[in-house]
């Protein structure tokens, strides 16, 4: 009896270690620990004010939107390096169309989204049909869109459009006196939509299947080509959306906006427990990844004496630790 129990708990432990949800739980746990640490250390500075927590969403909404797109790509085992450049380009395009061409923001937004999605589609098409590494193709995209920024203007364009200002400054009130920005609400809506698509649609399951084994997915008769191209289209769309949210956040277009942001997005996805090899991970994990990265920034701001570069160091250490965890987990799974 007791022996049997032992075996059962042993089996349970193995199952826990192999459970694909474990990395998400680890990240969520890490977030709670970090938050608890902040609450303890900076209690007297108002860390426990609900708005501090909400600001995580307000300050990182654009990153969340981009990271959700990156999650789709990484789930198929691909990578999208063009994210930051597409964001930067979207801010420029939006600022230029609104300020210099006088188009209404509500018309400009769908144009920008369409351009981002089309850029993603093209990269996906090249990746699939010419069988080129996504790393290379999206690297080309990175240079291309960053270059396009400078074609529009070499200088920053600040936005004075009243619609943009109103959207940027609107507070969505929450119970307890705190509030969210429109951008934060949009990014959470995108997250919810992505969750639904990945878990309740055939397209979403194909994304997982391709990440699990592309060759198998093909031989199972799944439309691999269409799915792969769609995934890069989704990422391009999310990058453009992220660019719009970033425009609202900064209220300007600048050719140097969001340089290297693709790396933050990838870091958030990986810290959120999605395997870079594809097929395993949850978009909810990406939310926690973004929150953890955001919380690092917040903690360093509260500390006050630390240079902001410590954010990068902490992110680096964290990423490294999570990749090691992924590695040991996949190694265990294989045996």
């Amino acid at each position: 009896m007791s022996v049997l129990d032992g075996i059962r708990t042993g089996g349970g432990r193995v199952r826990l270690l192999q459970d694909r949800r474990l990395p998400v739980l680890v990240t969520a746990g890490l977030f709670l620990v970090m938050f608890g640490f902040g609450a303890f250390r900076y209690q007297s500075y108002g860390f426990l004010d609900g708005q501090v927590f909400m600001n995580l969403f307000i300050d990182n909404g654009y990153l969340l939107a981009a990271a959700v797109g990156a999650t789709f790509v990484i789930l198929t085992g691909g990578i999208d390096l063009s994210v930051g450049s597409v964001i930067g380009f979207t801010t420029m395009l939006t600022a230029w169309l609104v300020e210099k061409q006088g188009l209404p923001f509500l018309l400009v937004a769908p144009i920008a989204l369409g351009v981002g999605a089309f850029g993603g589609y093209l990269m996906g098409y090249v990746i699939h049909h010419f069988e080129i590494e996504p790393f290379i193709v999206t690297l080309a995209g990175l240079f291309f869109f960053r270059g396009l920024c400078l074609v529009i203007s070499k200088e920053s364009i600040s936005i004075t459009d009243p619609t943009v200002n109103r959207l940027a400054q609107t507070h969505v009130p929450l119970p307890g006196g705190s509030f969210l920005s429109i951008a934060a609400v949009v990014s959470l809506a995108v997250l919810a939509l992505a969750y639904y698509v990945l878990h309740y649609t055939r397209f979403g399951r194909r994304v997982y299947a391709i990440g699990g084994n592309e060759q198998s997915a093909l031989l199972m008769g799944l439309p691999v080509a269409g799915t792969k191209i769609a995934v890069y289209t989704v990422s391009g769309f999310c990058s453009a959306l992220s660019g719009l949210l970033f425009t609202l956040y900064i209220q300007s277009g600048d050719p140097l906006h969001a340089v290297g942001l693709e790396l933050d997005a990838i870091a958030a996805v990986v810290v959120g427990g999605t395997l870079l090899t594809g097929g395993s991970g949850y978009v909810i994990g990406t939310l926690f990844g973004v929150l953890v990265l955001g919380l690092i920034k917040t903690l360093i701001q509260f500390e006050g004496t630390l240079s902001s570069w410590w954010t990068k160091i902490a992110t680096g250490v964290l990423l490294f630790a999570f990749i090691l965890i992924q590695r040991t987990m996949t190694a265990r799974r294989r045996t």
Partner: protein
């Protein structure tokens, strides 16, 4: 009906890869309610034929007629829709998804675009039960052993779109099983065969590819034999004996083989160089015992894919073993990588000399010196004078042409490339030399020279493991013979006048001999 209409007729099928003919003018037909074996050595074109039929590779010529109508199948999806279902050699499932998803992905039950998970699990569970399995369909497929995964793949292949209609295989016209049994044990094979027979009774035409001749004779009704991408013949299983079948697959007449064999009986048994006990690797080679002494040539015979190369790779540490021990000169050795074996004096000439041995863009001199330099470590370069002397010596000894140490190795003929590789390894003064197909694809003269070299090396006391698809060559050179069949070393015997090509062929065909 004297001659029922075939469900599938492929005529004059041609497939080329980069100008090389993988299939030339192959005919293949399939009748409903039969199990049809597709046979041939590795590289005979079985997998290519299957991939052409299932739309993975486009057709370069020929026609496919399904149910009396000509069809053009251009994608796996289209093949599935036409009722051609396939289970490939490698289990083609997504390890990260659940059993239920793997069975039904691509045809999940949806309502307004939303997957109905409960219904999906219910349908999957129903299919699994119908095939007599008891699985938790929501568990990841990767958590089950390979054998179960194989059955899941079959359930996926034959499970119809909607559970609940007709028999287990409704909707399936043709089921292709490419080496489905290589990862199954005896009981699991029985289960699979029972399933195959049930599907046969339901009128499904089954294509069965297997290396295991026993299984062919147990379950199949008809067979088609391919060799070198061409059709050799179609026979009823009952009409063709095993020895004749093996002859068809190898493409040599028995008498012709008898004539060629010569014997090389005297084994000057020296000390044991290498000894393996129960060495094995799952899916590659079953546990085997082996011993090679100084000056002994051990010849390994068997069909392509019978595990010859896999055995050699274990001895060289190119693959790690799952079980068993290896001893070199009496000392147990743990071979984790080739370097462990090289350090103990093992040299291995791979069968793929172009991809796994030679660096074609380096000169003959550089290629020859490579292994010696590796053995010394990169920090201690071989002095130039010594290097040139050694290279010159081996170019002369092996008669490498052109005798120019600065020639690009890639420009040499196959036989001379092989000699360059041989020189490279001889330079390290190996105690055990493993030659995997050293004479494949080289001309007759070079072949004879390499064979002579092997004899003289063994006279100098080098232990040699000699692998070749050419039975006569193995018979002529070996002191001891090992015969492999179905990834198992089935026989070991001293070479002598009584060991003939016919006898070895019989062992390959039957395996009763131990």
């Amino acid at each position: 009906m004297a001659e029922p209409r075939p469900v599938l007729e492929m005529t004059g099928i041609v497939k080329e890869f980069a100008g090389i003919r993988a299939l030339s003018d192959v005919d293949f037909r399939l009748f409903p309610g039969e199990i049809h074996a597709l046979l041939g050595e590795n590289g005979a074109g079985k997998s290519t034929l299957i991939k052409v039929l299932t739309g993975v590779h486009p057709l370069d010529g020929g026609t496919v007629v399904l149910d009396g109508r000509p069809v053009r199948i251009t994608s796996p999806l289209q093949a599935q829709q036409a009722g051609i279902r396939t289970v490939y050699q490698e289990v083609n499932l997504c390890q990260n998804l659940s059993v239920a998803e793997n069975i039904l992905i691509g045809r999940e039950p949806v309502r307004a675009g939303r997957i109905r998970w409960k219904e999906l699990r219910r349908q999957a569970a129903q299919l699994v039960t119908r095939f007599g399995l008891d699985l938790d369909v929501s568990a990841p497929v990767g958590s089950y052993p390979l054998a179960v995964q194989q059955l899941v793949a079959i359930i996926r292949a034959v499970g119809s779109g909607v559970a609940g209609d007709g028999g287990a295989g409704s909707g399936t016209r043709v089921l292709i099983l490419d080496e489905p049994t290589s990862s199954l044990d005896r009981d699991e094979v029985e289960e699979l065969f029972a399933l195959m027979r049930r599907l046969r009774e339901e009128g499904v035409a089954i294509v069965f590819v297997s290396h295991f001749l026993d299984q062919i004779y147990e379950v199949c009704d008809r067979m088609t034999v391919l060799r070198n991408g061409a059709l050799v013949g179609e026979h009823l299983v009952a009409d063709l004996g095993r020895v004749n079948l093996v002859k068809l697959m190898i493409g040599k007449d028995l008498d012709e083989l008898e004539e060629l064999s010569e014997h090389h009986g005297q084994s000057q048994a020296g000390e044991t160089v290498v000894k393996a006990e129960g060495l094995s690797r799952a899916g590659a080679i079953a546990p085997f015992d082996l011993e090679v002494r100084t000056g002994e040539v051990l010849g390994l015979a068997g069909l392509l894919g019978s595990g010859r190369t896999e055995l050699a790779r274990l001895l060289f540490g190119a693959d790690t073993s799952d079980s068993g021990r290896v001893y070199f000169e009496g000392q147990q050795a743990a071979l984790r990588e080739p370097n462990d074996a090289i350090g103990r004096g093992v040299a291995f000439l791979s069968e793929n000399r172009r991809t796994e041995g030679l660096v074609p863009d380096l000169t003959v001199r550089e290629n020859i010196i490579l292994a010696l330099q590796a053995a010394r470590g990169w920090t201690r370069p071989v002095p130039a004078s010594q290097r040139d002397e050694l290279v010159a010596k081996y170019i002369a000894a092996l008669d490498i042409r052109p005798a120019d140490p600065e020639a690009k190795t890639g420009s040499l003929s196959g036989g001379n490339q092989q000699k360059v590789l041989l020189a490279r390894w001889l330079l390290t003064r190996p105690k055990l030399l493993i030659l995997d197909e050293p004479t494949r694809g080289i001309d007759v003269g070079a072949k004879a020279e390499i064979q002579k070299l092997v004899v003289s090396l063994s006279e100098e006391g080098v232990a040699v493991v000699y692998i070749s698809a050419e039975l006569e060559e193995v018979l002529r050179l070996s002191h001891t013979m090992g015969v492999l069949r179905d990834r198992r070393l089935v026989a070991r015997m001293a070479n002598g006048p009584d060991v003939t090509a016919g006898r070895v062929l019989e062992i390959i065909a039957s395996g009763e001999h131990q």
